[in-house]
């Protein structure tokens, strides 16, 4: 496992906020998937995944987030990512996913984004 991976899930007005902490790689991305699956099962209208505490993520972590996006989109729900640190932003750009996800600078902004019409 990478150093001290942590997570908290809390309820917000119209959904859930998950905050991850620690480096995310193939040693702990299965844990990340598990936490997100539990959240998706509660069918939140808005799922915010905050990455303030995540200095590093590899493609195994990105894959879990893409899976989450697909799950929410299929259910016509919203997924928003917030607080991407430099290296995490970097892998989203390399994978050309920086325009596929809704990404905000902080959690407050993520709460304000109006529910978007579902992607087709």
């Amino acid at each position: 496992m990478a150093e001290e991976p942590t997570h908290t899930t809390e309820t917000i007005d119209d959904g859930l906020l998950i905050c991850f902490g620690g480096e995310i790689d193939y040693s702990n991305s299965p844990d990340l998937r598990h936490v997100i699956h539990q959240a998706l099962a509660r069918k939140p209208d808005r799922l915010i995944i905050d990455l303030t505490g995540v200095p590093y993520m590899d493609s195994s972590g990105v894959a879990v987030l893409v899976e989450a996006l697909q799950g929410q989109t299929k259910n016509k729900k919203q997924l928003i990512l917030s607080n991407l640190q430099t290296k995490v932003q970097g892998i989203f750009e390399i994978a050309r996913l920086d325009t596929v996800f809704q990404i905000t600078d902080d959690i407050e902004q993520a709460k304000q984004i109006p529910p978007a019409p579902p992607r087709k």
């Binding site: 193939y26 893409v66 290296k87 390399i94």
Partner: protein, 151 residues
């Protein structure tokens, strides 16, 4: 066999990814790469190791991953060379390739990241035919020269 400047040999366990990253980050800086060049190199090696563990070894945790690292200082400038070797025989190297990113789906990013982040990426079979050899190279880019007048 001549040895490299710095070598790491570890068991195929995901918990060693962060150890390799820490060593590589420090080493790449020693070889003159800037932080914004170091980050992609570290990511590339993480992806290459993860692929060896997942695809090469099917998540077996007791197989060897060998990483040999040398400073580069040649006609292309200063940089770092990283060679990863595994003990996976019978791998069809033509199947190791990135996919079209337009299609958004989980997975299938690792090989794309290798080619995107490194200056050269070379998959071959090891000379001793015992497995796959991946050679990665990255050169330091001196700060972009100012636009030249009259050019």
């Amino acid at each position: 066999m001549t040895h490299s400047h710095f070598e790491m040999r570890m068991q195929s366990q995901p918990r060693y990814l962060c150890v390799a990253r820490a060593a590589l980050e420090t080493l790449a800086k020693q070889y003159g790469l800037h932080q914004n060049e170091v980050d992609p190199v570290v990511l590339a090696v993480d992806e290459a190791m993860t692929n060896i563990i997942r695809h090469g070894y099917k998540d077996a945790t007791d197989k060897p991953i060998l990483i040999r690292i040398n400073p580069l200082d040649d006609a292309l400038g200063k940089g770092i060379e990283i060679i990863l070797e595994d003990e996976c025989v019978g791998v069809d190297l033509t199947k190791i390739r990135g996919r079209d990113l337009k299609q958004v789906r989980p997975g299938g990013l690792g090989v794309h990241i290798l080619y995107k982040t490194m200056d050269t990426v070379e998959f071959t079979h090891r000379q001793d035919a015992k497995g796959v050899r991946l050679a990665l190279r990255k050169y330091h880019q001196p700060t972009a020269p100012a636009v030249q007048e009259g050019s």
